[in-house]
Symmetry: C2
Subunit: 297 residues, 2 copies
């Protein structure tokens, strides 16, 4: 019988879990809200227990400890999300499943899923996946592997220009105030305008401001990593107006300094939505599960 | 007889050329000012011609075209440096030397030199070398190889917070005005204060402002790449006050968000000067020359 894999993408708003075979065909899938750690991880465990899994891939919002020689490997660390700071993600699964378990950050799984499985992205050895939702984070494929230095990227806390006359909102990041996440995450939009981002109409001035902040952050990422493509996901990006605004402002800010055809002629493909839709993260987690099993065999 | 290699580091202010054997022991070295392309490249060619070289490594300030399928491979592209935009760097050497010739950006050579040859840096698979001089640029080792996506990094043109009340200087970048390079390069300091950076005393307010800009840029680089170490070179960094100011401000800006020992406890080693002194770039160029010869044999 074929191997069976379980994959989890744990976001700050919702979790997605899925089961696949070795071809990454999804056999079952479940989605539920992120509540308390016990309840949320419990849902995932109950779902996985229905299947005779051979390996599991876990991915979760960060920051997480990815240092496998650390005592806190597999923990969520300094998250501002209430109730989730210092939570051990791997152990509850280890207690229930005697199979190899892979672990990473949610956006690392998402960029890996796109890199390995997306027909449009899987030849790009320098690829960035950014989520703009409850938090802002990026997973990076650099020279063909998931970038991991001291730890994972933390682009949400980047410093960008903030014109306080135009936008007196001080930002909501508990660590940095007006860093990118403090100014442009879903909760920042909610707090600034007192409306949920999903309920803000397309012609609201919120989107022009949001695209200013995202364009500044994206050109910093372009100028640092020189990626071949940037994929934008997360709840905030569900507003259709944002993509064209962001693309236009990136071109304006770069001001013909970078003349690569990908940027000058193919901006619609350069800054784009996920090739795998909402499944990038859970598919990336399944890819990790299969890789781990293959390595252990 | 041993193989002989020629290496060139071509900066915006000065060029360094050197000869080494396969152990990278420097047998001869020359340094001269960057004047016109003809004169400057001519000096390098005359120097190299004194030796029976087996391969040559060329590195030069950017932006450069590193796409080896491009008609402009080996050219300097959109540099604001007068007389050097659109200059073909490789061809003058190809006409004179019938040996393999490697080519890259100056800071790519510098980070490669540090990665391969510096006793303190050569185990770090995620390493950044930043030059702050005539321009600002970075070479990046990511997952153990020199980062190259669409092209090389261009961190000098990053957007950072600019408090125009504190510093009304508009910036000198011809493309972006107040990008990092526009605010913090050697020529920007010179233009703002009307004194050469090398003549500004250590207690001048210029250094406090300079460290603000560099600390903002460096935390963006830390948050994107999660490097294990950042090496700072270039003429502006000759001001001894800068290193302690930058280290202090990085800690203040990060505000205990990243708790890695490298940042919390070993900041003096984390933000540091080149392990190879002023030879990082020319040694990196020699490493490229040897690698190319080995590959071609």
């Amino acid at each position: 019988m074929d191997d069976l894999f379980g994959g989890m993408e744990g976001g700050g708003t919702k979790f997605i879990c899925a089961i696949s075979d070795g071809t990454f065909h999804l056999l079952d899938k479940i989605q539920f809200s992120t509540t308390t750690p016990d309840e949320t991880l419990g849902h995932a465990i109950t779902f996985f227990k229905k299947y005779p899994l051979n390996a599991i891939g876990l991915s979760v919002f960060g920051p997480v400890d990815l240092n496998d020689s650390s005592r806190k490997f597999g923990y969520i660390t300094t998250t501002p999300k209430r109730g989730w700071s210092g939570i051990d993600i791997i152990s509850p699964f280890k207690q229930e499943f005697n199979v190899p378990i892979a672990f990473t950050l949610d956006v690392n799984a998402a960029v890996l899923g796109e890199y390995v499985l997306s027909p449009i992205n899987n030849r790009l050895k320098n690829l960035v996946y950014i989520t703009i939702g409850t938090g802002i984070g990026a997973g990076i494929i650099s020279n063909g592997t998931v970038l991991s230095g001291l730890s994972h990227p933390e682009v949400g806390h980047m410093r960008i220009p903030h014109d306080k006359q135009l936008d007196p909102f001080p930002g909501i990041c508990p660590y940095h105030g007006n860093c990118l996440e403090g100014l442009a995450s879903g909760p920042a939009i909610h707090s600034r305008w007192n409306i949920l981002p999903s309920e803000l109409p397309g012609d609201h001035p919120a989107w022009d401001l949001e695209s200013d902040y995202l364009a500044s952050a994206l050109i910093n990422i372009i100028l640092t990593l020189s990626p071949q493509r940037i994929i934008l996901g997360g709840g905030v990006m569900n507003q259709d107006k944002l993509f064209p605004l962001i693309r236009k402002k990136i071109k304006l800010l770069l001001n013909k300094y970078l003349l690569f055809p990908e940027i000058v002629k193919k901006m619609d493909e350069y800054i784009t939505n996920p090739g795998l839709g909402t499944n990038s993260g859970v598919l990336g987690a399944l890819v990790m599960a299969k890789h781990l099993l293959t390595k252990n065999e």
